[in-house]
Symmetry: C2
Subunit: 243 residues, 2 copies
């Protein structure tokens, strides 16, 4: 079957391999050979190698000295550290946005996103939850964009792609847990506070809030690891965490 947008087998390789790894198709530390994966994805090695090199930059695979690819493994500490890095960068973004000021239209956009999130609070159901994850991601990328710093946008984006460091990492699959739902309320309170701080040019406050906001993810991670194993089953990337 030929893809109508025929080009970009590299992209196919990238997204499909990423899904496989985050979905737990390999055990952490497992070696993956190019021919094996190429056959599984039904493409040749050339675009696959390009995708693997990208995934190495994302921290999902690494090259052994011999050249073989190996799926990365992470400790809980690594995840915690990654979340702290994200919080720090988002803090810098919020501070910079507050210092430099944000255009009216960007403020309006954000207010709309947050209002839509408000409307979602207390509602349940998978559709609402999916929308929550989407709007949440939108707020976080707004924060980066509001800084106006190209490199900051890029680096925030990069650290969010690290397994389990993104803003919604620990939400998927937990929509029915009361304690997680409570954390959504607190998160939304943070969102508005960050927005107001940026709007009011309160740079220091914006930074501190964004940092603290990221630490909710750390708390959710701890809850998840302390809770029942079944709750962990569907969290993408959690299979890469060892020990």
């Amino acid at each position: 079957m030929k893809d109508s947008r025929s080009t970009n087998l590299s992209l196919k390789a990238l997204t499909e391999t990423r899904s496989l790894i985050l979905g737990g198709a390999f055990t952490p530390g497992e070696r993956v050979s190019e021919p094996f994966l190429a056959q599984r994805l039904e493409i040749s090695r050339t675009p696959l190698r390009e995708a693997l090199a990208t995934l190495a930059q994302e921290g999902l695979v690494e090259r052994q000295a011999s050249g073989r690819w190996q799926v990365c493994s992470y400790s809980i500490q690594d995840i915690t550290d990654a979340i702290e890095v994200r919080g720090t960068l988002e803090g810098l973004a919020a501070r910079t946005a507050a210092e430099r000021g944000v255009s009216q239209s960007m403020l309006i956009t954000c207010r709309q996103t947050l209002t839509r999130l408000d409307a979602l609070m207390g509602l349940s159901g998978p559709d609402n939850f999916e929308l929550y994850v989407h709007l949440n991601a939108e707020f976080h990328s707004w924060m980066a964009a509001a800084s106006g710093s190209q490199i900051l946008i890029r680096e925030v984006d990069r650290v969010c792609r690290m397994p389990l460091a993104s803003p919604s990492s620990f939400l998927t699959g937990q929509e029915d847990s009361a304690i997680f739902r409570k954390s959504l309320l607190i998160a939304q309170h943070h969102h508005w506070a960050i927005f107001e701080a940026v709007e009011a040019r309160e740079a220091s406050r914006a930074e501190a809030l964004a940092r603290e906001h990221a630490r909710l993810a750390r708390q959710n991670l701890n809850l998840l690891m302390a809770g029942d194993p079944p709750a962990r089953a569907n969290v993408p990337g959690l299979s890469l965490v060892k020990s």
Copy 2:
């Protein structure tokens, strides 16, 4: 002619292409074709493509929608932003190191580095200057390592590879300028203060100092741009700065 260390044409492609770009062999925004570059480096397109993909992650080249490679161009603001990101990440590293504590042996290592830097203060000559750059880099990578956070080590390393964001970007070629030499003294004072704060577990102070320390680079950048054009001639990567 066969290379004795035959492997790693990719690495050769990476380092040589990086040198070419930072050395100003291309104008910012210039399009570079793979066959052209492959012929120039006397390798095939396969390892070259891998190297270019890496350089894209480093922010030296980017892919156009059509697939062609294009040398990136930067504004002064981009450089300033990159320096601020580096300072923020190094600040997080210093804070984390202070909070978690650093082993005796790492403290000793750092003290030795700083003592050797002390001995260099006031001395001149190209050899001493080269040594300064080396020891300076050593201190900065110590700071990242002292945090114990793998992802932080990786991200600091990455942002240092951005053109003109590394700790020694604006030093090369300026060894004879009195004002630059004075900034070395201040930098060294910062180094010791950061070290002492980490050793004394003064986390907040360590973070603030590391942030401020990075801003010396911003100051040097401003001096450089305000000064005579000849002073800018030999600064690697400065050819990528536009307007």
